[in-house]
Each structure stands twice: as structure tokens, then as C-alpha cells.
Symmetry: D2
Subunit: 348 residues, 4 copies
């Protein structure tokens, strides 16, 4: 059994890791860490009644020694900034790290500083970190000791756009990504921004042109294109808990048909069990992937405008966070990527 530790177990990504890892056939949850002194020594079930039936270790203070002594992998589900501090010690102790924060995703320390308004992680770790978009980086992930788990928006956007960028069929300067997310993406911290009475029966935009996932999307898309890609990215908040919906627009340069586009995507994802390329012209909905690790993609071609419109949906807590982290762990430890993750979406 792989012994796993979770930092930030009382957050939403943390508790989703608990849900997935507790059902994983080859993993034992060895350690649960919290940064809240008040919770030390408590059962996680005091915080989250819904997992009362699980046998779990008590919450304990963050402590690098126990991590390196008796865990094989640490999931860091902590706010940006924490991971950068903990990671060097863990790697030194031969513990593999899967980081769910944004600390190791950007290769450029400058971009991190600019978009996150924080000090970046050491260059050495930035260089060492492997970006964990499993469908497009599988080989590197297999050898990773420090894995940067992708952001929720970038996961949905990159899976939607990489085949198109790779193909060279679209004008990279024309990319507009209009994204919509459920509220759980904001985490478990209480604030007016996630107050039920403020967001229920309400739809809003935020961080227009300024979201920190923008450079992550651009960095990764640029790896697959022939030139640096700039993306117009607008996030919105939907009055629902889970789910990300991406509507991406691009100007089709070549005279390609919808059938060719569909063929392109079906080929690209033929052997990717968690990406479901739905029939061309499908109207996706977030609930079709609720609670699961799937990403659904659908292609539309507007003959009037010459634009391709790519839709994609994920569950931000699963494929957008904990599920993708487990998928990466599976590959890092030589298991089938689907191990423990073949849960059907919960519908309705």
C-alpha cells in the first residue's frame, strides 16, 4: 500500500482527496495535516460529518519529519505560498510531492510574482516540477518527484484547446475563453464573496483579464503551438457548487470542416480514458461529469463566422483538483491511471 499524507485536509480539495483515496485499492491514508492549531488531535469527522464511517488518522500539525518518515507521497492542498516553503524539505527526505496549489505551475518566477503577488518558489524546484496535465504530459509525470497539479480552469481550457493549437488550424491570437465556475472553486474560507445570499440566484464575472490562471494556460498552450499563445480569459461565478464550463472561441484559418475537427479530437483523445469527446454539435452540461474525473468536450463550427467553438466541462473538485491529483499519483507509482477513479458521474 502507498502511504499518503494530506496537507490541508479540512479544505475542499483535501476532503475530496479523502473521498477518493479512501476508496483507492492501493492507498492508505497515513497522515492528515492541518494548519489550524484548534483542530490538532481531532477527528476529521468532527469537521466533516459525512465521512464518519471512515477509519482515519487524527488531524495533526504540519511536520516535515513525519511526512518523510512514514509517507510515500504528500498531497499539498494548501493555499499558494505554503507549498513553496514545505517542498524542499520533503524532497530532501525522499517523499514525493503532489502540489495542488499554484506554486509550481509557472516556470517563470517573474510571472508568478506578477500574477500571484507573492514570492515565487526557488528556481531549482520550479525547474524540477512536472506539470500534471495527465493527458498531455504522461511520460514526464511517470518520472516526477514534484508534481504541479494543474489549476481547475487550466485543466478544462487546455483539454479543450491543445488539439486545436497543435493542429495549427487556428489563429492563436484569436483565442477567447469564457469560463464559468461553481462556487466551491473559491475554497472553504468564509467571506462575503461566497455568502449564499450574495451568490444564490446570481451570476457574476470576476477578475476580468486578471485571473492568475491566465499565464498557466498561456504557458502550456504555447508548448504545443508554433508561436507564443496569448489568451483572453474571463472567469464567471455560477450559483452552483461544483462544475466548470468553458466556452472557447477561435478563428479557424484553414478551411477545415466540423468532421475534420471532430476527427482531430477523437484521435487526440482516443486512448485517454477520462476525456469524452462527445458527438459534434453537442450541448454540454456540467452535471454530466458531477463527482467524476471525466472531462467532456464538444465541437461546434459556425459557418457564418468561420469560428470554431469548443465547449468543455469538468468537475472542478475532481478532474480540476483531487481527481487529477490521484490520476497523477497513479502514474507516478506505476499503476493504471484509472485506478480508484472510475466513478460514474452522479446524475441527477
Amino acid at each position: 500500500m502507498i502511504r499518503a499524507g494530506i496537507v490541508g485536509a479540512t479544505g475542499y480539495s483535501g476532503i475530496e482527496l479523502v473521498r477518493l483515496l479512501s476508496g483507492h485499492p492501493n492507498v492508505h491514508i497515513q497522515r492528515l495535516y492541518t494548519s489550524s492549531a484548534a483542530s490538532e488531535g481531532e477527528a476529521l469527522a468532527k469537521v466533516f460529518g459525512h465521512i464518519e464511517q471512515l477509519q482515519l488518522p487524527e488531524l495533526q500539525a504540519i511536520d516535515t519529519k513525519s511526512m518523510t518518515d512514514d509517507t510515500d507521497v504528500i498531497f499539498l492542498a494548501a493555499p499558494a505560498g505554503v507549498s513553496a516553503k514545505l517542498t524542499p524539505g520533503l524532497l530532501a527526505g525522499n517523499c514525493r510531492v503532489i502540489d495542488l496549489s499554484g506554486d509550481f505551475r509557472l516556470k517563470s518566477a517573474d510571472l508568478y510574482r506578477q500574477w500571484y503577488k507573492k514570492d515565487p518558489a526557488p528556481e531549482e524546484q520550479l525547474a524540477q516540477a512536472v506539470y500534471g496535465l495527465h493527458e498531455w504530459n504522461r511520460e514526464a509525470i511517470a518520472d516526477a518527484v514534484l508534481l504541479a497539479n494543474p489549476g481547475c480552469y487550466p485543466t478544462a481550457v487546455l483539454l479543450a484547446l491543445v488539439p486545436l493549437i497543435k493542429s495549427g488550424w487556428v489563429n492563436p491570437g484569436s483565442l477567447i475563453v469564457d469560463a464559468k465556475s461553481g462556487i466551491s472553486g473559491a475554497g472553504r474560507g468564509a467571506s462575503l464573496a461566497v455568502h449564499f445570499s450574495e451568490v444564490n440566484e446570481n451570476f457574476s464575472a470576476y477578475k476580468v483579464g486578471q485571473h492568475q490562471h491566465t499565464p498557466e494556460i498561456e504557458q502550456e498552450l504555447s508548448r504545443f503551438g508554433q508561436e507564443k499563445v496569448i489568451v483572453q480569459f474571463t472567469p464567471h461565478l455560477v450559483p452552483m457548487t461544483r462544475g466548470i464550463f468553458v466556452t472557447a472561441y477561435a478563428q479557424l484559418e484553414a478551411g477545415k470542416s466540423l468532421e475534420e475537427l471532430q476527427q482531430l479530437y477523437e484521435s487526440a483523445y482516443a486512448d485517454k480514458p477520462f476525456v469524452r469527446v462527445r458527438p459534434a454539435g453537442s450541448y454540454l452540461r456540467t452535471k454530466d461529469v458531477y463527482g467524476s474525473n471525466y472531462c467532456d468536450i464538444a465541437l461546434h463550427l459556425d459557418e457564418r463566422t468561420g469560428r470554431v467553438i469548443v465547449l468543455s466541462v469538468i468537475d472542478n473538485m475532481v478532474k480540476g483538483a483531487a481527481g487529477q491529483a490521484v490520476q497523477n499519483m497513479n502514474t507516478m507509482f506505476g499503476m493504471a491511471e484509472t485506478t480508484g477513479l472510475l466513478l460514474s458521474p452522479v446524475f441527477p
Copy 2:
């Protein structure tokens, strides 16, 4: 008192007209028409308990004679196709008509046939109909006898984009409109598409590149530009009852600043009581106009991409339907446009 009749009183636009007109100081609701034989002779309060306190006429069968005999204005809140049939008789009888369907909005019978898949209204009426986007067509509205009340999406989109198209500052070919609507826009008819368990905690796209409001948006925008405008329009469904949110993207051609853009909009809407140009860079939310006739607009300029992003929100039942209809009626009958409409949004 202006004597008003409502066709389709048991639908959502109809009942919203009842809410607004029953509080209007100069209007008496004279007649309520229904196409459901089962409801004839019944009180509207049997259908909608929430208006039990109102003194209202009984529901009756549609009947052109009573309309022309003792009403001054008829609101047609019926499905597309019905209005085209009723209207000639009403106009012949000197009854003014405010039509909330799409039957008279498109000047081109061909476009109607193509997008609505129905036979268009007679050319004579199409020519006679005045498009009721009050903020941009006030003078014609004052003389209208047949008013085509704008669609919900076009209202939000046009108020967001007309100043920009008029200015000539953007590339009209670059317009992308990503729109999101609450479920009430689909009307009161029962179907799987509006089943709570299907749409709750769910976000979806529909009619991508094919929505019948597209030619309406293009027709009206083209009136204000120097060339025919083509729009990429994508509607989405949000798990909420009321509200439309528009995120519109355009490539800024001239080297204009956010301040200049803000000035442009503030000037355009300076004397328009129902359009609130919010501070530049605001993040709008639909609930800020809930239950009211306001349209809020906010401007964003992304220096990295050279795009202007215009956000707008309306309540689809009010400014997007019944409220705008009353606003138009006010002007058609020589009253202040705000009469009976100065309700504050309901928040939270």
C-alpha cells in the same frame, strides 16, 4: 386611465405585465386573455396565487372584438406565430399593439423564415412595426401603433454594444457575445429542458451559433455601424430563475483608453434613467437588477490583448420583457418613460 388587455396572461411575461401594470398609476387592466379553453371564466388567482389580492377581470377567450371595443392597448405575450395572426385585426380596430414575441422584430421576412422556421407576418405589418429598444429608438416609439418589443438577449446585448458600434472604435467582425440566462427565459411550458432536477446545479450551452435572437442583434447593431455587423452569439443556461448576463468581446481598433470608453458610455446613457453605467472595471452581477427595469453596464479594457470587454445585466422578465413593454407603452401614450417602473431591485 389607459385600458390595457393582455394576451397570454398565464405565461411568465403575462404575469409580469400584471405585476407592473397593476401598480401603474395610469393603467387599468381591462382584459385578460388566455388560449387555454380550460381557463376561460376563471380567476387568474387560481393559476397564480401570489396575486390574489388584486382586483382583476376573469380570464377569457381571445377575441378581437372586445380588444378593439374597450381596450386602448393590447400586450401580446404569446408564442411566436400568434401575434402575426392577431395584429392586423387589432390595428384595423384602432387598438395599439405591443408585441412581446419575435414576430415583428425582424424587418426581413426571409430571415424570420430562416431562423424561426415559421411563416413570417405580412410585409405591411413588418414595415409598420417599430423596434422598441427604448434607449435607442425613442422618437419612433412615440408614434408607434405596432411595437415590436425586443428580445431579452438583444436588449442586454444592444445596450452593451450600440455605443461601441456607433463610435467606430472597434472591429465589427470581432464581436463575440457570450450570454447567460436564467431559466425563466424559456417560458412556463413544462419540458425536460426546464425540469428542476435537470437544470439545478447545472450549467449548459444551447443553440450555439443558431439562436433566433442572432439576426435581431445583427439587424439593430448594423443600423448604428458603418457596415453590416455579424455577431458570434452563444447562449447558456444558468441555474437561476431570472437574469441575463452578457460578456461581449471586441477588438479595439483605435488606441482608445478605458477612460475614453467610459466617457463614451456615460455620455450615451446620461439621460437614460434605466441604464446605469457602473464604474469602469466593475464586476456586475445579475441580482443587482433583480425585479427591476435597470440595465447595468461595465467596461473593461485588457491592455494585453487590446480587447474591450463589455458586461451587461438585466432582469429578463422586466427590462428583457414586461418592463420594457411598459416603458414603451409609457412613451407611446405620452407619459414619462419611468411611470410605474421605478422599483428598486430586490436584493438579496
Copy 3:
């Protein structure tokens, strides 16, 4: 014009008072007070964009002098404990006070201490305060200088049960009140308890047998019965913003029929414009009173069990708070109770 001041204008009851008073024909909002130093000198529209169109005074620090100098009535929409401190000074300065907190509702200082875990207001003010359940205390309200506006739950419960208790037809020991509230009842403060991701798609109970509105309900019901009334009261949270639904059960002692019960209620509320006794056997819904000052009531008699089941619904922000406060103000200042309050519910 009556000059009104509002303490707690940035809370939900405060902003609802602004909505209602700004549309009131005889009231001028003279002063807006906040306890947040950071907001002093700011426009309320900075906090609540949805009222940007209103001409309002700036937010200012709480200050008894300005209240007594140039307002006729102060609405205290502040947390329990604040009102008790401010009120003596206001009354001394001849300013009438309408208190929306629980500070003056309980006549017994001991009960206040026991249920609110706070020090009670001075006995003198407790004695002076008039309980503002308008439908059952109109005469005293007309002469009030210090008005204790009822709690949201007590309003819905008392309107549902007073006729029954007065009739003597039910066993007072058999009263069970199962109440359900939207989240806005918890106020605007951020906490995990109102975090969208915690309460959306979720239904829960809280304070079972321990809610501080219990003694308020018992105190007022006991005034109308022949013996002291004890109530089993259970509050629940519904994933919606506004609305209270009450399901009240009582053992019918006399052999009364549903028709007699219906007659009892219709008589009791015949001249009460904001109580709508719906047809016997109706199934109420909270949305039927959304945004309005109405309270709907429906009676059910279960022949199998001999119990009467009374349903009632209110909008907790209106009839359960700000609307009832304005209704009380109307009577305190000699106006018709409905002045400024005849807004139809917003549906859907």
C-alpha cells in the same frame, strides 16, 4: 415628509428598509448609520451597487445627537445588544424608535438573559416597548414611541396560530411548529454556516428546541389563550435566500370542521390587508409572497388524526423584518398601514 434614519444600513434588514422607504411617498431617508469605521463617509452604493440610482445620504458613524436633532424616527437594524444601549438616549431626545432586533420583544428580562445569553435592556424600556405584530396589536402601535418589531419566525407563527389559540378550540400543549427559513435570515455576516458550498443543495436543522424566538412566540400566544402556551419549535435552513414556511400542528379539541376553521380565520383577518387566508386545503409556497409584505395562511384538517395543520408563509426580509417595520411606522405616524407597501410579490 417623515425624516427617517437607519442604523445598520449595510446589513440585509437595513438595505431592505432602504428599498421600501425610498419608494415610500411620505418618507425621506435622512440618515444612514454604520458601525463600521471603514465605511464612514462612503456612499451606500459602494456597498450595494443595486441601489446606485437612489439619492441617499452618506454612511456616517452612529451618533445620537444627529438622530434626535433631525430625524423623526430611527430604525434600529443592528445586532441584539446594540439597541438596548442606544434607545434611552433616543427616547429622551423625542425620537421614535423602531427596533428590529430582539432586545425589546421579551417583557421578561430573565427570559432574555436565558435565551439570548446577554444582558437585557433596562426594565423601564422593556415596559414601554410595544410589540409590533400589527394585525394583533394595532391600537397600542398607534401610540408607540418604542416599537419592538417582531422576529421573522414569530411573525409567521403568530399570524398562523393566534386565531386558533384565541378560539380555545385546540389543546395549547399540543402545539408543534416546524419552521423553515431561507438563508438571508442569518444576516450578512460571513461564516461557514452561510457559505454557499455548505448550504446549497442542502437542508438542515439548527437550534432544535433552543431558538431564541421560542419565548417570543410563547409570550405572545399566551396573551391570547386562557393558559400559558408552550410551543415545540424547530427551525430549519432551506437552500434559498428569502422566505419562511411554517407548518404548525395542533390537536383539535372541539369537534370543529374545516369550514368552521376557515370561517374563523377569514373573520379574524377580514380587514387585515396583508394577511391572505387562502382557500382551505391550499398548499402554500414561499415564492407567492417573495419581495412583498403579505402573509399567506392555509388550513388543513386531518380527520384521521384530529389535528389541524396550519401553514403560513412570509418573506422574512419584508413581513418578517423591514416591511412590517414600515407598516408599524405608518400606523405610528397616522398613515394608512399599507402606504408604500402594496408591492406585488415577484414571481417567478
Copy 4:
């Protein structure tokens, strides 16, 4: 592998059976039946995109021969009335039947006729049917060939009340059950009653004193008490998709303490893996069991009134329908009751 067939695969209970059975280690979904001629020969994924990844048989017409020829068990997830007609033929063909409708739950044909307004199933089958409340009828279930799967409300109510009735500590005449359900309990059929705009941000009661689950609750409770039990049962609709919340009130006759009550329940459910007796005084919430087969129970004792208040929550689609059906199948086929059902709740 057990070969399973599902009648009504395109309904909500049917698709939930597909979710659970497709993840069950010992079951093969052999047949999917539909009563809709239009769907015959189609893939279920055409109806439900979210299960596109599953290898499933095509939808086919209902046909007793294929059921008895090559399935071991048939799940009937069809409306009341259908099961009564199909079952005799299935049993004659040695196919075991698990019926999710109400057709075989009531032992009394008269009560069925009275509450369901339909003709009852033949007496022979009524006598043969085993009521599948697993926690309280395990032995009979192990031998069942015709299993009547409990209703969603009765499951939550019975698990909450059986220990209390068995104990003899409460007055059975005092039982009041105030129940709240998510909308999916109404099934997938489109109607105004489940229209999003009608039920969102809305809470309502329905069938007060008249719900067909009432005699089912009374029949089963009466088996455990010393006298016939009559229950006051009121169902409500909550604006959420999944979940049932039960608030049950009973007059405690004996002078029992909360500790004794807690002990009673902990003993009763000590070896029942899907019932979680939470700490005394807990406030339950439906989301704590979302997507899972758990039933959570919490006890409250109100010293002021002498009443015990029992709270319980289930996911109506799982423990209230498909999950409990699979639990019953497990026992009918000699497997551990938890096989394939140990999914953690999905939170948030």
C-alpha cells in the same frame, strides 16, 4: 456474475441503478427495458450523456421472455401499476424481482386502492412480497423472490422511528413526521410541479395528510409496536435535487434521558453499516449523505416539552431507492450487504 435487467432505465431510479450496478463487482447489466417505443434500439447514452463511457446493452421493449431467459434479477423502476402486471410472469419464470414502485409494499389491497387510487396487485403476490427495509427485515429478505423496495420517505422515517416504537417509550398516538424532500423524488416526467422557475428559491408543502407513503409507514411501524400506529405525515418540497430530511416528534412517556435514547439507537444500529447514529444533539444535513447509501440519525430531547425529536437524512435516490434495492439484491444473492455500495458521500 449476476445478470440484472432494469425496467424503466430512462427514469431517475433506473439511471441510478445503472450507476450503482455498473460499479458492482458481481453484477452484469444484461438488459435495459423502456416503455417508450421511440427509444427502442437506442443507446442509453443518447438519453443520459453522463454514462457514455459505460458498455451497456441497447434499450429494448419490455418483454417477459428475455427477462426470464437470461436475467437472474429484474429491477422494476416503473410507475405504480406496471409492476403488478409484470411480476406474476417473472416469478413464474424463476426470475427474482426487486420492485421499486409502491405496488407490493402494502399488505392490504384495500389500503392500496384507497391511497393509490388504482387496482391492487393480486393477493397472492402481496402475500409473497417481502418488505425490503434491510436494517429491520434482513432475514426475510435473504429468502425473498419478490422484494418490495421501500418508499423514499418511509425509509427515512422508519429508520428514525422503529427503535423508539420498539422501545415502548413513546406514545404512538403522538407521532408527527414533518418530512422534506428534494425534487428528484417526483421523477423525471416533465410537469409544472417540477418546472425550475416554479420550484427554485421556493419551498412548499403538498399532499398534507394525504401522501400514499403514510399507510406504508403505519403498516411497518405497527409491526414493531404494541398497538396500531397512526402517523401525522406532512411532505414538503425543497429547492434541491437530492435528499430527504425527516423531523419526527414524539411524546416521551417514560422518564428517559437523552443518554438512554442515544444508547437505544446505538445498540439498534451497532451492526448496521449504512446507519450512522450521530452524536446526540447533532444537527443533520442532507448533503452529508449525498450520493451515498447512508442514513444519518440524530436524537434531541426537549426537557421543556418532554418530547423526543428524531432527525434523519438519506439520499432519496440511493438509500431511498436504487441503493437500498442493490443492498437488498446483495442479501438476496448471498453477498455482503455493502458490496458495491461503500461510496463516500460527495461533499461539498
